[in-house]
Structures are given as C-alpha cells and as structure tokens.
C-alpha cells in the first residue's frame, strides 16, 4: 500500500525528516507517535504533497506508484486523504458546494461518473449525522466560525464522503472530547477494509482505544526509531519517549 523509503525533508535549513522508512500494508491501521517537533506533521504534509515540503531524497509510493511528481490534487485523486491538524476556515466558500465540487473533480480524474446533486445530498446528510454536524452549521461557509472540535468533525465528514484509499489523520484527536473521539472511531472503523490503509498520527493513547492500530511506530529525530504492536501505546504513555531519544540521536 503506502511505502516510504529513505525520506528526508529540509525546512528552513533544518533537516526535519532524516531517512525515514515506513510501510503500511493495505487493510492495516498504523499509528505514529512521537514527541513534539519529531516531524509528524511534516510527514503528513510531505505525503500529501505540500509544495514547501518537497523531499530532498527518498520516495513515497502508493500501490507501487510514486507520488513525488504529483501535485496535491493528483495525489488526492489517487486516494490520498489528509485529515488536517488545524483545518483552515475559508469564508466565502459554501461548504456543500465545495465538497461536491472536490469529490467530482477527483471522480473525473479517475474516469468515474460525477455524483448527482441528489445522490450527493443523500450521502452527505447521512455522514453529517454520523459526525454530529447540524444542517445549520453546514449552511455556513466552510469552517467559518467553527470550533476546533467542529473542524475535526468536518474533516471526518469529508473522509467519509471521499472514501479515500489511504487516510492520514494528523492529530485528529486533539481538542476532542470523549464523545467526539468515539465518533472518530466510528468513522474510521466503518471505512476499515482490506483495500484501505490508515496512518494515524497522535500524541495520546486515548484515540487508540477507539481506533485499534495494527502497528505503532515511534517517530523521533526525523526517523522511525521503534515499532511495535498495539501494546506499545500504553508503554509510551507510561514511560514517555525518553527511552527512544538515544536511538534518534
């Protein structure tokens, strides 16, 4: 599924990712944990194709196809979805219209038929209910006046709508209460399947109570320094990342 090899990224003269290797097979959920400044968000932006985050070395492939020469929109059409850590508000952009336009832009690139307004509305309403966003909120411009938690719900709504092949969730749990965490778990678990992969970036073990990972990786100093099974999360929560700092150095 997603294969990252020897990835290095420099930002403002600082090497943020430094020879990172990671493989997430189809059907699996992998979590990335690590201290602040380890490069977790950089990794998500780099995979999604943000221009300023172009790698110095290495490769990122999805189903064997390199993503590096593709723009963010082409990667999205290939099925890469990023749930943003801090999604922007875009005043003046009508929410439903934007999501439908984006969805159909992806479909067109993939040679699929566009989704009709009626079909879209039906699916949209169902998912909106799941993530707990009221119709009044959805009539507002995109994320305009939304709280942090509501913005995260909007990310989950889009993830459910787009049905991406590979989902990167960058600290989706931050700022969410228990009910919202449960909702995130519900969305992820409904999408989980043999053809889909997830990379869940988080600081805390608590999200992983709702989204059970197959593997957990520790990212420190721009590299994966340790990997383990789901039990690693609780271990990290108890003893911190200190023990891996030496491995990163």
């Amino acid at each position: 599924m997603l294969n990252i090899e020897n990835l290095s990224v420099t930002l403002g003269g600082n090497k943020i990712l430094n020879g990172l290797n990671l493989r997430v097979p189809a059907g699996e959920v992998h979590a990335i944990m690590g201290p602040n400044g380890a490069g977790k968000s950089t990794l998500s932006y780099t995979v999604a194709g943000r221009e300023e985050y172009a790698p110095d070395t290495g490769d990122i492939t999805l189903e064997g196809e390199s993503l590096l020469e593709m723009g963010p929109d082409e990667r999205a059409a290939k099925g890469v979805f990023l749930s943003f850590q801090a999604p922007p508000a875009i005043p003046g952009v009508a929410t439903m219209n934007f999501i439908r336009t984006a969805l159909n832009a992806q479909r067109t690139v993939r040679g699929e038929e566009e989704m009709s307004a009626a079909d879209f509305l039906k699916v949209f309403r169902t998912h909106a209910k799941t993530v707990g966003l009221s119709p009044e909120k959805l009539k507002r411009p995109f994320n305009d006046g939304f709280s942090g938690g509501e913005k995260k719900r909007m990310e989950m709504l889009q993830m459910a709508m787009f049905e991406p092949r590979f989902c990167i969730m960058d600290e989706t749990d931050s700022g969410l209460d228990i009910d919202a965490l449960r909702m995130v778990g519900e969305v992820v678990n409904s999408l989980r399947g043999p053809d889909r992969g997830f990379l869940v970036i988080t600081h805390y073990q608590r999200l992983l109570d709702y989204v059970k990972p197959d593997r957990i990786h520790v990212l420190a100093g721009g590299r994966i320094v340790h990997s383990g099974g789901p039990e690693l999360a609780r271990e990290l929560e108890e003893s911190g990342y200190e023990q891996f700092a030496s491995e990163a150095a």
């Binding site: 999604a48 194709g49 943000r50 221009e51 300023e52 723009g71 963010p72 929109d73 990667r75 999205a76 059409a77 979805f81 990023l82 943003f84 999604p87 922007p88 875009i90 005043p91 003046g92 952009v93 934007f98 999501i99 336009t101 984006a102 969805l103 832009a105 992806q106 690139v109 411009p141 889009q158 787009f162």
Partner: protein, 417 residues
C-alpha cells in the same frame, strides 16, 4: 501664495474653457492634482493627462446592453456627459423669472428628472484635491428627485467614447421617507477623460441602495466624485445608505466619496476593485460625522494582478458633537503577482470622546494553507485559486441585499479575475 507652475497643454486648454473665471485662475496657479497633492499622491492625474484635449464630440458608439439591469428601473442615459431626454414623457419648461432654464420630466409618479441648461455656482472655497469635483459642478445639471414616501429604482448609464474630455453633474434628492435603488454605470470605450459628479441628499427616514459599476476601461481616465449628505433621524427612524462600488480599472480611475452624516444614520460604503494588466484604481472615501449616533460599516476589498496599481484612502472624521458614533473601516487586498502594487491609507480623526471607531487594513498574497487544503481535497490549482479569489471578493458582494443584482455583480467580478 505658491509660485505658479508651468501648465501642461492639457491644463492650459481645460482651464481656459472654464465658465467660472475665479476657479480658472485658482487652477492655473495650482494645476491639476497629482503626485504632489497629498490626497492624490498615488493617483497622478496630472501625469496621466498631459496632451491637449478638446471637449468630447457627440457619442458615436453603440448603445449595447447595460452591464447590469435592475428590476422595474427607469433607465437614464448620458452620452459623453450629455443627458438624454427620458423617453415617452413630455418635457415641461423650467422657468425662473419668466426665463427658461431647462426642462423637467415627470417620469413616473413621484420620480422627477430635470435637465438644466447650466451648472451650479461654486459657493465654497475649493480645497487642494477637490478641483475635479468643483469643475464638474459647473457642468449642466441633471437632477433626479424621488418625492416623499415614493420608492423608485433608477439606472444611470454613463456612456463614453472618443479620446477627448467630458463630464457630468447629477444631483439626486431622496425625499423624506422615500427609497431609491440606484445603479450608476461608467461604460467607457476608447480613451476619453471623464469627470463625473453625483451629489445625493438623503432626507430624513429615506433609504438609498446605490451601486456604482465601472467595467474595465484600459485607456480611459475617469474621476467620479460622489458627495453624500445624510440627514438626521426623525421619530427614531434613521437614514439608511448602502453604497457598493465595483471597479475594474482604467488607465487611471478614481472613485471618491465624500459623505457627511448630520446625525443618527446607518451606512455601508463598500467597494470591490479587481485589477489586472497595467490598470489603476483609486477608492477614496472621506466621511465626516457631524451629529450623534451615526453608524458606519465600511468594507473595501481589492485584488491586484499583473502590473496593476490599487489605492485605498479612507478617512473618518468624527467631530466633537458626534458622540456615540460607531464606525468600522476595513480594507483588505490580495496581491496575485510580483508586479502589482496596493497603497492603502486608513485614517481616523476623532474629536468626540464617547465613540467606537476601528480600522483594519491588510495586504497580502493568497492564503497558501487554504490553497493547499483545497488542492488536497482534489481541486486543481487553477480552480482552487479561482475559488479563493472569488470567496475573497465575494464578501463585499454578499452584503448586497438584492439577489438579482448581487448575482450580476458576481458575474462581472468573476469575468474580471
């Protein structure tokens, strides 16, 4: 007294033709406003008009479709500054001491249009920078009056062509309890110099929704001065004004609004400019708060591409008597190319102590975070940029209440991006 300056061939001709000798003499000593004039330093009118220009000949162009239409509106057309007689109604002479001074038309019940043979006298001294407005005052006056409690819609189309010079002088009265929805267009082809003036008196309890539309006029020079006077409230009902300017640039274009609030009133003085190539546009507003409890919310947005030059100068002058004034001024501009320039000068001058006044001003590039976000969702870069630009400018147009008009303005704006 400053030493007289060397006049350009344009100025020599223009000032010699003025019917007001005193103003002519003043202008000969001052010249046209330009780089050296504080309020015109980013709009060098003097530099833009150097060659001699005769008065414009008759309008020779076609009369195409108006850039926007207004439901049920009376359309009044000016061709190269000359008001055209309203169709289908008989003129009546305007007599002063038995002498004919013009003609008047009762266009509809409660809507009167009068065309005078002459302009008005200049009663006050002409401050530096206000010369163009003064010159326009001298042109034959056209007056539009909405009588008390009537509601009317009017479209004033200013059609201009050729390469010479002309102007116009319109005086509008919105009487007590009346409403006027008015669209004023500047439809310019060729490269004329146009000096327009609109003066509007808003009597107590009146409402005016005013839209000024200036499609792109790459080779023309346009100065449009608006002088607005908002009366005090009556029986607790304030005067309401909502003005929106959509300006798409010219070789040099200045849309200047000078407003005076006598008391409790509610006003929006908005503008959206969108410029590409080497186009220029200047939005200058000067609001004087004279009486208590006036409320103003101003939103001006601009987009500069290519080598365009945008200017915003906004001033709120709150006089000592204007207690409990509530005034907000915001100007935000997007620069889409390295060659575009935006100059902005927001100013608050406050002499009253119990007021709420604020101003905000930003000039920047397209939000890269939002752009990446839209692309991450699958929108190609061009489309993502277009959506963001549209959303940016759309904020001004969203405030226009008439949905049909708003859609038409949106289409004009999008065609300019």
């Amino acid at each position: 007294m400053s030493t007289p300056i060397a006049l350009t061939p344009f100025e020599s001709r223009l000032f010699a033709d003025l019917p007001d000798r005193e103003l002519g003499e003043l202008l000969k000593s001052r010249g046209l406003p330009g780089r050296r004039t504080e309020t015109w330093r980013w709009s060098d009118l003097r530099g833009a008009l150097r060659e001699e220009r005769a008065p414009s000949e008759a309008y020779a162009g076609e009369v195409g479709e108006a850039p926007v239409t207004l439901d049920g509106a009376t359309v009044i057309t000016l061709k190269n500054g000359v008001p055209q007689a309203p169709q289908g109604v008989e003129p009546k002479p305007i007599l002063v001491d038995g002498e004919k001074r013009g003609v008047t038309y009762v266009v509809e019940d409660g809507l009167i249009v009068s065309l005078y043979d002459q302009g008005r006298d200049i009663e006050e001294s002409v401050a530096a920078g206000e010369e163009l407005a003064a010159m326009a005052t001298l042109r034959p006056l056209m007056s539009i009056s909405v009588l008390p409690t009537f509601k009317h819609a009017v479209v004033v189309r200013r059609l201009s062509d050729g390469d010479k010079g002309h102007g116009d002088n319109i005086f509008i009265t919105v009487s007590e309890g009346a409403q006027l929805d008015i669209v004023e267009t500047h439809e310019i082809t060729g490269k004329p110099f146009v000096n327009s003036r609109t003066e509007i008196e808003l009597d107590a309890q009146s409402v005016c929704n005013r839209t000024i539309i200036q499609p792109k006029a790459s080779d023309a020079v346009l100065v449009h001065t608006s002088v607005l006077r908002l009366d005090e409230e009556k029986d607790g009902v304030p005067v309401k004004l909502h003005q929106t300017t959509l300006a798409l640039g010219a070789a040099l274009a200045r849309h200047e609004t000078r407003a005076e609030y006598l008391g409790k009133s509610e006003a929006k003085i908005d503008a959206l400019y969108c410029l590409g190539d080497r186009l220029h546009n200047d939005i200058t507003t000067h609001v004087t708060f004279c009486g208590e409890e006036a409320k103003t919310d101003q939103l001006v947005k601009g987009i500069g591409n290519g080598q365009a030059r945008g200017v915003f100068q906004g001033k709120f002058l709150v006089e000592r008597a204007a207690q409990r004034t509530d005034a907000k001024m915001a100007h935000h501009a997007l620069i889409l190319s390295k060659g575009a320039h935006i100059n902005a000068k927001p100013e608050l001058e406050i002499y009253a102590d119990d007021v709420e006044c604020a101003h905000g001003n930003t000039v920047g590039a397209l939000d890269s975070e939002a752009l990446f976000y839209l692309r991450q969702r699958g929108l190609p870069e061009d489309q993502a940029r277009a959506i963001l630009i549209d959303a940016f400018g759309g904020e001004v147009l969203e405030r226009v209440q008439d949905e049909t008009l708003r859609d038409q303005l949106g289409a004009l704006f999008r065609s300019a991006v």
